[in-house]
């Protein structure tokens, strides 16, 4: 398809979508240009999703495959649910970037290489014994060899910039070139550079010169036939912002504090990939947010518990290794029946594992990882912007049932972005806290007293009174308590009652009208297959189900955003579909739970590579299941 836009003589190919991956050394600024290109595309009106992928080391050895950092963005004129399967375009700033990403390309893809980075030493560092530009490695692809570094140096030379500084602008050259190829207006980018580097005029000017040079190179060099155009997507009307999961989560927590009237206290210990939640909240002092960087993960949970006792919307955030450490405090919060949200941004484990890579391997830890019978609600976000809704839901449940709630996201959601349509804040549902402010029980001798464990008959939630209220002084602790009074009790029948009550309280959320269903359904009459997933795999599963339907299969999709209590409808769906497959980024954690609940032979599709599913691969594996 070719079109000509008025005012320009250049013919443009109209595309429905494109997936671009910027790859280079971790010091090459690939995350930055990826972010910039994403924002430009968002402002232009495309729907999109992104997937950053970078090493945990701040500076892995330069030029090696281990040090490659990449950023993939999928932009489209229609609905986008994943960051894309395989890049249509790979920008490789050096041989290591080429080598690390080549296997993801499908034949026919475009590869733009910075030929200046391909001398013998660079090739050796990347592990190439022959030059891939010459040995036929790239025969299946359309390759553009661009001297990015030298052209950047030329463009910045008149500015008198030192060679080393000038070289650092080469990412903007690449960005300028891609902006030309995909007809992105660069005005917002110029403004961004001017603002960001205002205090460093030399850097600013070098980046601007590199950007212009890249763009002009596209226009004048006869390497490329035509630029491409991707029309704005027909998103529902409204105001949008592009948001990643960690920021969305932080905003959701602030919103929950506003909607509940409780002050937000966020206690956390630095850990990848959750630290950005702490960073975002620490900036937001104007919203009354109290953040504390605790001495360790245990302290962060302890501080949150103390804050909860004192009347805060108390939150602690971490990643898998930190959740291990918070287990004891979660047990106490279950016993004290205090509202608290624990965010786990899952990453590849066990132990340190791969801190910057994604997995869904903490599900069973979240569900069961505490001694004793210590049930608590577990919710999971299904996309970057859904982290806002999930934070609101977690806070709502925590406050309503006086319980700690674990909120699961993962590295993919934390750093991935998508457009989010801003809601009208006044239309958000308030969170009813229902604090107790006076004595709630009459003694046999007629005296009014306060019973901290007096329960709401519907939700089974206990009464919550805050320190500072005269007459409601009470002491609560981790020793088993007598229901009602909250006094220490070692009586067998009371313990049995309390253990069952704590479970029943969580189960009651399943039928609570104030609580969301926790289930996203896309059913199809007469479906041969039900695909079940949870959390961040929603996009990939949705994409895969669309493909299967396009191929004529009848497939239903059920996606869980609450893992405990499981949505009531789920078991029915599991037993009524001829085949059920559960797709998750672990070795079958939800799959086992579903089998247990339904006694069905639920099949599992599992991946533990540290990367999200691609819709293509998932569709292939689901098709295999259909064939069996």
């Amino acid at each position: 398809m070719t079109t000509t836009t008025s005012g320009t003589e250049i013919a443009q190919h109209l595309l429905d979508r494109v997936v671009i991956r910027f790859a280079g050394d971790s010091g090459d600024g690939m995350q930055l240009v990826g972010d910039r290109f994403t924002e430009l595309s968002a402002l232009f009106g495309n729907d999109l999703a992104t997937l950053p992928d970078y090493p945990a080391e701040i500076r892995a050895p330069a030029g090696t495959v281990a040090g490659v950092s990449s950023f993939q963005v999928h932009i489209s004129s229609s609905d986008v649910v994943t960051p894309g399967d395989a890049p249509n375009v790979l920008v490789a700033m050096n041989p290591a970037a080429l080598r690390a990403n080549l296997h993801d390309l499908t034949p026919g893809a475009t590869v733009i290489v910075n030929v200046d980075g391909f001398d013998a030493r660079d090739l050796t560092k990347a592990g190439y014994t022959t030059d891939p530009l010459e040995d036929g490695t790239l025969d299946a692809f359309t390759v553009y060899e661009v001297p990015v570094t030298s052209l950047t140096l030329q463009a910045t030379e008149p500015l008198g910039v030192k060679r080393r500084d000038a070289e650092r602008s080469k990412n903007f050259f690449a960005l300028g070139l891609i902006c030309w190829m995909y007809t992105r207006p660069t005005r917002p980018l110029v403004e961004w550079i001017e603002g960001r580097f205002a205090s460093r005029p030399t850097v600013r000017d070098a980046n601007l010169a590199a950007l212009r040079a890249g763009r002009n190179f596209g226009e004048t060099a006869e390497l490329f036939d035509h630029p491409f155009r991707i029309e704005p997507a027909s998103l529902p009307p409204g105001t949008y912002t592009n948001i990643n999961g960690n920021t969305a989560l932080a905003w959701g927590l602030i919103a929950a504090a506003e909607l509940s009237g409780l002050p937000l206290v966020y206690a956390s210990y630095p850990i990848t990939p959750a630290s950005d939640i702490l960073h975002e909240l620490s900036r937001r002092k104007r919203f009354g947010v109290r953040t504390i960087q605790a001495e360790d993960e245990i302290a962060a949970a302890s501080i949150a518990l103390g804050a909860a006792f004192s009347g805060a919307l108390a939150v602690t955030g971490t990643s898998g290794p930190g959740l291990d450490l918070k287990a004891e405090m979660l047990g106490l919060a279950v016993s004290l029946e205090l509202p608290m949200v624990v965010v786990d941004v899952q990453r590849a484990g066990p132990s340190t594992g791969m801190p910057t890579k994604t997995e869904q391997t903490d599900l069973l830890l979240a569900l069961h990882g505490r001694h004793g019978e210590a049930p608590l609600p577990v919710v999971a976000a299904r996309s970057p912007s859904h982290c806002i809704d999930t934070a609101l839901e977690a806070a709502r449940i925590a406050v309503r049932s006086r319980t700690p709630v674990i909120l699961l996201t993962d590295g993919y959601l934390a750093n991935g972005t998508e457009p989010w349509r801003l809601p009208d804040p006044s239309a958000l549902t308030p969170i009813d806290v229902d604090l107790t402010t006076e004595e709630n029980h009459t003694d046999p001798d007629g005296r009014r007293v306060y019973w901290p464990y007096l329960r709401d008959p519907a939700t089974l939630a206990r009464s919550w009174a805050l320190p500072g209220v005269p007459g409601l002084q009470h002491r609560i602790g981790g020793i088993e308590k007598q229901d009602g009074t909250g006094n220490i009790s070692y009586q067998p029948e009371n313990h049995e009652r309390m253990v069952r009550l704590r479970r029943a309280k969580i189960d009651a959320l399943g039928t609570d009208p104030v609580v969301a269903s926790g289930l996203e359904l896309d059913l199809q009459d007469g479906a041969d297959l039900l695909v079940v997933g949870w959390g961040s795999t929603w996009g990939a599963i949705t994409g895969a189900v669309r493909r299967l339907r396009d191929d004529g299969h009848r497939v239903a999709q059920a996606h869980l955003t609450r893992l405990d209590p499981l949505p009531l409808q789920l078991v029915d769906l599991l037993v009524t579909h001829p085949k059920v497959v559960c797709a998750e980024l672990n070795l079958g954690q939800l799959t086992g739970v579903l089998r247990d609940r339904s006694l069905r032979d639920v099949r599992g599709i599992h991946q533990v590579s540290g990367l999200p599913f691609t819709a293509r691969e998932l569709a292939r594996r689901l098709a295999e299941e259909l064939d069996q």
Partner: protein
């Protein structure tokens, strides 16, 4: 937002010990030093003029950690070692409350050592009472991080080979702004020290020598026997020379290596005696005083080692928030959601 906090001063004008006693039966072993400590606390608290509903007692696990159950205040009996961190959460959320932390030597110096250090370093406004009996009582008699080398317990049948902590030195090393030591056999001294610890704005650490008559009876007898006290307790009094003994005949002075030595005043020379200054910004001399007694068998300083002012953690947090709100106005969700680049689809 509804303000559910109580208003200071709405409770009885005249508070009594009874106002701070809960209806729970005390369950420490008969003869335990904790009884005297609880009594001293409950006798002193009415003097503070703070109603019980504005107090929170936080504890971890151990015999001492049961204390909050006996107080008619708000209280959390939390997890072994975690009390300073839980209390930090309380103080951070509610700077208006009077927050107390009660624990033992195992609770605060072993499993919870890290939390204690950081609560002191941050200078959270907490009054921390560490009841030191040099033994694990609740688990029935294992050696603790303050037990001396050679101590024979159930877990050290051949004698402990662990070098113990000196709690006052630890607190001073952790940048504590108020550090004191008292003991369970002198109610007046305890009340005085507890009151001063409470009055200190910031983290106050008090080591209380406490007798465990079941598992470590008489651990402090060398110091605390009535006839031993004059020669074994070195009372620290601000602005006065550090001296002790029935006739004040013993004293403490600096030697040529900048170390403190104990000796007869006649030998040391009266004008060379150390003048105790609680408010010295530098903690070196306070630390040196803490090193005088490596174990409770030689003359041991009691009283306030250090009392200095430093910005208080939760005050600083509040100040930053208030300054930002003052400077740019209270944030709204509308603003928050629009704080990144936005675009409109018609």
């Amino acid at each position: 937002m509804t303000d559910v906090r109580g208003v200071r001063g709405v409770t009885p004008v005249e508070l009594t010990r009874k106002d701070f006693m809960s209806d729970q039966e005390l369950r420490w072993c008969p003869g335990c030093g904790d009884y005297g400590i609880l009594a001293a606390l409950q006798l002193m608290l009415p003097e503070l003029d703070i109603p019980p509903h504005e107090m929170v007692f936080v504890s971890g696990i151990g015999c001492a950690a049961r204390l909050p159950y006996y107080m008619n205040t708000y209280g959390v009996h939390s997890i072994h070692g975690r009390a300073p961190a839980v209390a930090t959460g309380v103080a951070l959320t509610r700077p208006d409350l009077s927050v107390w932390v009660i624990g033992g030597d195992g609770d605060m110096l072993s499993i919870g050592g890290n939390h204690l250090l950081h609560a002191l370093r941050r200078n959270v406004d907490l009054t921390i009472l560490m009841l030191n009996n040099q033994i694990y009582g609740l688990t029935k008699g294992q050696y603790s991080p303050t037990s001396g080398v050679g101590k024979v317990t159930k877990s050290t049948p051949f004698g402990s080979v662990d070098h113990p902590f000196n709690p006052v030195s630890v607190a001073l090393g952790a940048e504590a702004t108020f550090v004191a030591r008292t003991h369970d056999t002198d109610r007046n001294h305890m009340q005085e020290i507890f009151r001063r610890a409470h009055d200190h704005h910031g983290a106050a650490f008090v080591e209380v020598y406490q007798n465990c008559n079941v598992f470590n009876d008489g651990a402090f007898d060398d110091l605390l026997r009535r006839d031993a006290r004059p020669d074994m307790l070195i009372p620290l009094r601000h602005g006065e020379p550090v001296r002790f003994g029935a006739e004040g005949q013993r004293g403490v002075a600096l030697n040529e290596f900048a170390e403190l030595v104990v000796g007869d005043v006649d030998d040391l020379g009266e004008d060379r005696l150390l003048i105790h200054d609680e408010h010295r910004p530098d903690a070196t001399l306070a630390f040196a005083l803490s090193r005088l007694a490596a174990d409770p068998h030689t003359p041991t300083p009691i009283g306030v080692f250090r009392d200095v002012r430093r910005p208080v953690y939760e005050d600083e947090v509040s100040t930053q928030i208030e300054a930002e709100v003052e400077r740019r106005g209270r944030g709204t969700l509308e603003e928050l959601f629009r704080s990144g680049a936005t675009w409109t689809v018609d």
